[in-house]
């Protein structure tokens, strides 16, 4: 088992509001999981709790990564263990160039090899991801379009090569061609033992990147798990029948 989330409960540190209500999720090496759910169901929050966002406090349950609890680790410590997340809305950081951030990240996770090699590798992955190289020398996400931000996230994912990546709405705001391109790159970058959790609203990403499991998520917990066919049901009939079925 790579990741085991069990009975995980968490609350917002400031408001005290419960935001996870007993989440169970198991991800093995090499698997692709999709988490789908209506707007506001808390999918991104789950990703943030797994990554250790200090805004949230775990009140019960556990998160094991490679059989060890990580809930007391800081976010960067989790990243160093091999977790990674791409952001739905990546932050703009004035004054920090994307290439410098990538170099600092590679240093931090101990993946940096010779400078010339790494520069070549960054350019190569940017080319694959469809991110024009000039963006590598711009400030992180500043003046990037929605698509460029997503491609920049994919470049970082490709270079850091995590064991488990949570891709939070990597497909949102992309047109069909861009989506297909991103999916192709993800397929290319995904190594055999690498696992992915795709958080998405739509089935279309899953046409290209076929998941082993689909989880429907609502109200802070996984309410139904199935194979790729579950995504088809959601696509065809919406969330209501799935949610009502569970509630009923």
């Amino acid at each position: 088992m790579l990741l085991v989330v069990s009975r995980l409960r968490a609350q917002n540190r400031d408001s005290g509001q419960e935001i996870l209500n007993g989440v169970d999720l198991t991800v093995r090496k090499g698997e692709i999981h999709a988490i789908m759910g209506p707007n506001g169901s808390g999918k991104s929050t789950l990703a943030n709790v797994i990554m250790g966002n200090p805004k949230y406090r775990v009140t019960d349950g556990d998160v094991l990564f490679e059989r060890e609890s990580i809930i007391n680790l800081t976010t960067d410590q989790r990243v160093k263990r091999g977790l990674f997340m791409t952001f739905q809305h990546p932050f703009e950081i004035t004054g920090v160039r994307l290439r410098s951030l990538i170099m600092a990240s590679l240093d931090a996770v101990g993946r940096r090899s010779g400078v010339s090699n790494i520069i070549k590798k960054i350019d190569e992955i940017a080319d694959h991801s469809g991110l024009e190289r000039r963006f590598l020398d711009r400030y992180v996400n500043v003046g990037f379009s929605g698509g460029e931000k997503k491609r920049s996230e994919v470049v970082q994912f490709g270079l850091l090569r995590p064991k488990l990546a949570i891709l939070d709405e990597i497909d949102s705001g992309l047109d069909v061609d861009s989506l297909r391109k991103i999916a192709d790159v993800l397929k290319l970058l995904k190594e055999e033992e690498m696992s992915l959790i795709l958080i998405t609203h739509y089935q279309r990403l899953l046409d290209y990147l076929v998941p082993d499991y689909v989880h429907v998520y609502d109200n802070g917990r996984v309410i139904r798990t199935g194979g790729p066919e579950l995504a088809m049901v959601v696509e065809k009939e919406g969330y209501s029948p799935v949610l009502e079925n569970v509630r009923g």
Binding site: P54, I93, L101, S105, V109
Partner: protein
Amino acid sequence: MEKTLSLSHGEFRLVEPHVSRMSMPSYGEKELEQMLQISGKDAGELRASSYLEYVGRGFPKWKRASLESMELPPLDTKASVKTEGGIHFRSMNSITGEDLSIINRLSFEGSDRKFVSMGDAFFNSGSVIDVKRVDRTAAPVVITVEGDTPTIMSNLFVLDKQVELTVVIRNKTGSVFSLMNNRFFVDEGSSLNLLFINEADADAFVLNNSYYLLSSNAQLNMFDVNLSGKVVVPSHVSRLNGDSAVSNNWALYSATGSSVFDLSYKLRHSARNTKGAIDGIGVLGGTARSVFRGTIDIDKGAKDSRSSEHSDALLLSEKAVSDAIPSLSVKENDVEASHAATVGSIDQDAVYYLQNRGLTQDEAERLIVSGKFDPLIERIKEVIGGEIDGGVRVAIIKRLGSFSCEN
């Protein structure tokens, strides 16, 4: 005399803020006598008249930048100052009658007349840098203050018509006191690119009084980088005296420990179509305090002028305090003037984003802070030139590195 704060607006008269005065052991006749021995006739005249004004008033009892604990060390007749480059420079002790009349014409208040007169009475270093029209683009001038003895510097820069000059004044004093008066006359169509870097001793009282008189189509690009000192009081006043003159002022500072930085930048627009800008960015840690005073005065007749001021301060500690005191006085209708100020702490969402890329909280915060300064550092490189900017990037990054240990 050019006042730092104008006190009238049309029919209105502001009540002049009363600055209490105090006496403290300071330099007097003995030091003046020593200085006069090494001065020429006109320098002697400048010293003597300034001394009379100096003894006539006490030291200012500033509320924020308190001088109560200031102790003036013995004054040598010569400070450790290195002046490189330029073409026509001579010691302030050998000024001519013509230089003296320019100095008198460039009379200004600075942070306080006590210090301006002190600088002109007791200067133990300083140059007259005179760029003639034939020189066109003069070689850059780099002035470096070093050593452990107090530096009192008085400089006069005269730029003839249609010339360009780049000046770097770097203060690396190890003494607890440094004071400089800088007067700049920039004639028609000339450009002055100027970088001040203050890296004085952490216990130093650092005062910089600079005045710029800009003629038609003259342009000033001034960077004021203050990185250390116990009490730091830079005061820069630009008088845009000729049509289409431009004054761009960029301030960058980092205050830590219990430092107090009282920074003042003033633009006075007195002619048509003049443009001015004040942009400040600072970071404060420990129990440091900063006051950022940006003053824009637009005189009657300065039609079509544009002026703006903006300041940002980033607080890295709960006990650090930053105040912005913007002041706009506009006496002409057809102008644009604006001001904006922000004071904030590091965006924790951005920190979290960088932690998601493997950086520790400390590394992420340092990267964000140094990133805040990056656009300005790039501009310094562009305007001043990477070869002579005194390693400003390295100095700033080194300075920012010290924050993590402290907070």
